[in-house]
Symmetry: C2
Subunit: 332 residues, 2 copies
Amino acid sequence: MTTVAIAGATTWGNTIARLLARKKIATSVWAKTEEKARILRDELHDASSDDNYVKYITFSNIIADVLKSADFVIWAVPAQNLRGVARQFHAGITDNMILVNLAKGLEADTGKRMSEILSEEIASISPERICVLSGPNLSKEINLGLPATSVVASIKTETAEKARELFNAPNFHVFTSSDLIGVELCGALKNVVALGAGMVDGLELGDNAKATFITLGWDEVVLLGTALGAMPATFFGLAGIGDLITTCAGNLSRNHYVGYQVAQGKPLHEVKAAMSHIAEGIDTTIAAHSLAHSLRFDAPIINMVYSVLFDSLPPAEIMVRFRNGLKPEARV
Amino acid sequence: MTTVAIAGATTWGNTIARLLARKKIATSVWAKTEEKARILRDELHDASSDDNYVKYITFSNIIADVLKSADFVIWAVPAQNLRGVARQFHAGITDNMILVNLAKGLEADTGKRMSEILSEEIASISPERICVLSGPNLSKEINLGLPATSVVASIKTETAEKARELFNAPNFHVFTSSDLIGVELCGALKNVVALGAGMVDGLELGDNAKATFITLGWDEVVLLGTALGAMPATFFGLAGIGDLITTCAGNLSRNHYVGYQVAQGKPLHEVKAAMSHIAEGIDTTIAAHSLAHSLRFDAPIINMVYSVLFDSLPPAEIMVRFRNGLKPEARV
């Protein structure tokens, strides 16, 4: 019998817990406090009293209890919190476990990917037992049982296959990939592009301008990602443009919302303060900006998003730069 | 002084006429009848009485008048009408003119691209003087002066450069490409994907499913396009995913509308009868389906759209096929 631990009771973590429980997989979710664990337990029972999957999910704030006999540990915390949580968990992780990261971001201070952070903080685990799940996956729709696809990537095929088997469900079709770097960068950097696309919408520049921004922004991401060791094809797959389209087109993206509000003239700290959830793209923009700088990689679009967020560049400057096609050397 | 003839008084043709007139380029638009020419003339003056660009546009139903001293002939008729219009015009075309096609479609009966049709029907013109303009270009936004980008492609660089110069404007940034086949196929086949994306929306499957459909559908288009001689990179540029994003995400696309209505259970002939404009994707689906068949190319997504439109496949079958990830061998 497969047993799963989920580190972090985020919206997406809870969605995955329900998806696994519906497959009758025993899933234990770690919440920060006993109080939080109790609230989540009550919420689950209230919302789903007539559904027998509920019995497969437990909540606890005791790491040792959550990890007990776990085959998989799923990391469902915001990207900037992963290092801290991994440190809290590391003593309980054994080398027979498979780690699956769900966070879509890069560490702001270091530019590191989430799998790198897990490797650094959990000495007992081989990089071959780490993977990422990423794709066009709006939680809300998956909770409703609407069909979706996703990608699980690992440097080791066997690990990806095992994780695929874990997550695959009638309405959740999971593919595997060996391009861990690419899938991680797709998930992280699409949030930067979504932030910028939100700015274009906030400036009310229209769908033509937005599509131009997304296309040239993604082109930049592909080149940066390739310079960082990813495979270009990954960026055009489900974890790439699939996720990008969902994030930029829908109105459900927090990153798009942040860009929109900032372009409408609200200071970033006010926008952040008013949000109950974290928009991963903000810190990931810092990471992407630093990575590009340290590689001496020309990233005019990432730099533009960065400058609007952190360097007082007036959002209207985006309009001015459009007149120059955003960048002279753009591929078409 | 540059002089332009536009064959066809379609919405997009009239938008381009206004764009050129604002650059003080004398533009003569051909309408089918004297009556239509008069109506368009009145509309233009009523809408823009205080704008002095109006004097640069003339309307006529006399082909010889429209073509007089034209340096460029712009083809702004629906794809299935281009051959007939080209036959009407061919006697007046001289080898010093540059032809620019605006239609985004393939001929249903032959699967041919618009530049192939122009070459076949106008013996006096070299293929080196034919180009296409294509990109994320919603007419409505361009009429409002919102910023947009587009791509002009020709097998001859010099021709593309000249057309770029013609169209480039402060809020209309034009890039050039040498991949005529690729840019034409992008514009045509994105309408097939948009039709299918409309079906996914019509079935109310959500944004995750829609993004999956678009991503795997476009993957199929790239492979088919490459088999037909296009460059893969073109499909990921402005004329490719740029146009695709605008068409599939917005609610302004006629092709998306057709797919939506059909998936909601309306017969195709009723949907078509109720529309005042042509949805190019319908006939282009016939062409794409035949092209794939004749190349023995595996195109499950194009075939699925075809079967729903023309072969009585119940739209709900799309949902069933999602459970299988749409196609087993999908790249991710």
